[in-house]
């Protein structure tokens, strides 16, 4: 009886549900088909045929079409210079310059994966193919499979259906794409220009890549300290050797092959090579030397690279040729908001000056009108530190600091420093000099006009940082752009791993760790690229990475278009006692 009653109740509930579901389904189908019908009705008004497209673009230079298309895609600016209008969430008007195509589909057009939002590729090569719940040739690679099944299937786009999608937000199945994707209003000609550009995105294989090999090179400027060069090369060569060993092992052992295929898919069989491009003579000749190397051996990307001084010619060459350069070891990187192809470990020496400016900004009100003085040694390092401070300080809106530049070859003496302090009576004094500043700064102890704090560069002081006299430690603050040594010791094991048993004292401890970054980031990025080895996609993939924790820097972070991985610096003081530790006086001060 009891069971029958339950069954009756269940069937009654089920009947109610069925009835409800019927109405729900009816409403859904009605909505779906009405939207589809709307899209089909709108189609003739929003899109034109491929024949019309050719007519619309007739007489236009191909390079000009691509330039204008790139501008729409990357900046949201129409050919007439006006912002591309669009609507999100149905009817909320937005400015296309704030909702550009590139911000989600990225520069390569191969899409992004951020949180739970997958932005599908928007390049012609993929759009004009039907989307299946698998990627051909990569059906059994777990992470690619997971990606493929996440996106709904659809037939191949045509020019007309693609134009309809951009205008109405409906794909060829009548499915509405996510509401955050704007529906853009543009003329048929502008649409033709944009689609012509999409057709070229990631459509040709990048140089230096084929089915069996990815070629890399590293640039070494002649005259760089051999120990520094060795420290830069060792982690990169370790990564490449390990990768190639795995490829060999996979070719000989089916179990290794299966494991490797599950992890890295078609990357398993691909070997890596690393050439050394050595630049000789004056930097004005480097461009030609690079051209010659590249002509003989086109590479997919440059890894690392090292110089004692200038890097700009290499940076410019990479911009011109569209070659990514991952983390060259340079003290003076090219600072640019727009350049795309070179990723630096940090903003170099100047980053310490920038951190000092931000630190002083937080206490500026307490200076009560007293000045800030920068004493700058006449060399490139000190000038870079001072420039970093000056430019960041200017952004805060405070009156500029007083700059005192020492004569070339002049060292700061106690007498000179006391004169400056007596004259300027600064609240804060920045001394951009090497260890020779320590005796001069020591002479300020007990003086009535002693500044509240003196700031120096931890990296410029070098090992002398540990020899700061006890009486100076109280008021000498130092910029320190790395994780503190006592904390970085946890990462020693990781850093030593790339040395393959070689003694670490043969290497520069900073450079080996900077180069470790190159090896790790390259490996992670290639694994995430779904077999799409395009240069822009390499940089897009790195740009979408979460914060990473490696030896040396407190953290490295990325973002689309961000080109300086470590963005922070500590302000520290040397602790008391005979075996002092560095003590943090600030958080990881970021840009």
């Amino acid at each position: 009886m009891k069971r029958t009653a339950i069954r009756d109740q269940l069937s009654a509930i089920s009947g109610q549900r069925s009835a409800r579901n019927f109405w729900r389904l009816t409403v859904l189908l009605f909505t779906h088909y009405s939207l589809l019908i709307t899209a089909v009705i709108l189609l003739p008004f929003t899109a034109h045929s491929a024949d019309d497209r050719n007519a619309l673009l007739a007489g236009m230079d191909q390079a000009e079409i691509l330039r204008l298309g790139e501008r729409i895609y990357r900046e949201g600016i129409l050919p007439d210079g006006k912002p591309l209008p669009g609507y999100v969430s149905g009817d909320v008007p937005v400015d296309g310059t704030a909702f550009t195509c590139v911000s989600c589909h990225l520069r390569s057009g191969l899409g992004s994966f951020e949180g739970n939002v997958v932005t599908p590729p928007t390049n012609g090569r993929i759009l004009y193919q039907p989307r299946e719940p698998f990627i051909k040739g990569s059906e059994f690679i777990p992470y690619i499979h997971n990606y493929a099944v996440y996106l709904p299937v659809r037939p191949a786009y045509t020019y007309e259906t693609l134009a309809a999608l951009i205008s109405t937000g409906f794909d060829p199945t009548g499915r509405s794409v996510v509401s955050v994707m704007p529906r853009y209003e543009m003329s048929a000609r502008d649409m033709a220009i944009l689609i012509a550009y999409l057709d070229t995105l990631s459509d040709k294989p990048s140089p230096g890549v084929d089915k069996s090999e990815i070629k890399f090179a590293t640039v070494i400027v002649e005259g760089t300290d051999p120990s520094a060069v060795r420290s830069m090369l060792t982690p990169i060569e370790f990564g490449i050797d390990r990768k190639n060993s795995l490829a060999v092992a996979a070719s000989k052992n089916p179990r290794v092959a299966l494991m490797s295929y599950n992890m890295s898919g078609n990357l398993t069989d691909i070997k890596f090579s690393l050439s050394r491009w050595v630049l000789k003579g004056p930097s004005t000749t480097w461009k030609q030397q690079l051209e010659n190397y590249y002509k003989t051996e086109p590479v997919f990307a440059l890894l690392g690279g090292i110089t004692n001084g200038d890097w700009e010619p290499v940076h410019r060459f990479c911009e011109e040729k569209g070659i990514p350069d991952l983390f060259p070891i340079v003290d003076y990187p090219v600072i640019s908001q727009k350049d795309w192809y070179t990723l630096y470990p940090s903003r170099g020496v100047r980053q310490e000056g920038e951190a000092a400016a931000r630190y002083l900004h937080s206490m500026y009100d307490l200076f009560k009108g007293r000045s800030i003085v920068q004493i700058i040694r006449a060399d490139r390092r000190a000038e870079a530190l001072a420039r970093g401070f000056r430019e960041t300080w200017a952004e805060t809106g405070h009156p500029p600091a007083e700059d005192i530049i020492l004569a070339k070859g002049e060292k700061l003496t106690a007498e000179k420093l006391q004169q400056i302090v007596a004259k300027e009576k600064p609240a804060a004094l920045l001394v951009w000099d090497d260890a020779s500043l320590l005796p001069a700064v020591s002479s300020l102890v007990g003086k009535p006009d002693k500044p509240g704090l003196v700031i120096a560069s931890g990296t410029y002081l070098g090992k002398s940082l540990w020899a700061v006299p006890e009486e100076v430690r109280e008021f000498l603050y130092m910029t320190y752009p790395y994780r503190l040594p006592q904390d970085d010791a946890r990462y020693d094991k990781a850093a030593k791993r790339v040395l393959a048993g070689k003694p670490i004292n043969l290497f520069d401890p900073v450079i080996i760790r900077q180069s470790y970054l190159t090896n790790e980031i390259l490996g992670k990025a290639l694994l995430e690229m779904r077999g799409e080895y395009y240069r822009d996609f390499l940089l897009d993939t790195i740009g979408m990475m979460a914060d990473q924790y490696f030896p040396l820097y407190e953290r490295v972070s990325f973002g689309p278009g961000q080109r300086y991985a470590s963005k922070g610096c500590f302000m520290v003081q040397l602790g008391k006692g005979k075996s002092p530790k560095l003590v943090r006086r600030s958080e990881w001060v970021t840009q």
Partner: protein, 147 residues
Amino acid sequence: MTGQARGSGLLAMGIGSSLLALRLSPIAYRLLPIFITLFALPAAAAAETPEKVYVVNDYRYVPANVSDDRDTGLSLCGTRCNALTTDFLNITEVGGWQLMKGAVNTEVTVELNSPFIKGQCICVADEYLVKIDDRYSEERRRPGKRK
């Protein structure tokens, strides 16, 4: 080797030297400091206190004088307490280390340590002990296992 362990080793060497007065055979004399060191090291390691780190949740400023600027003091305490805090991923991401949660919302007092304003910062923080969790290290592998 930790500072304490190194200290204990040197101490052992010192004891070894002080035994010079005893008439031991040359070999025994050479080996004695090593034995003493071996005995002293585990004791020193056991005495080592685990590192304590903080994740700061809140902070406030306690002025030293009535005239101290409270707003600026609070702002500087923000920097000071943030300097105390730890990005825990820095510890756990490398592998081989774990954090054991201790006190929650404990108040840690630090001197503001500014040349321009006196006072103290009260950093409200969760306390963690940093513990080695190197379960895959070679030292912890069973004897006879392939390294």
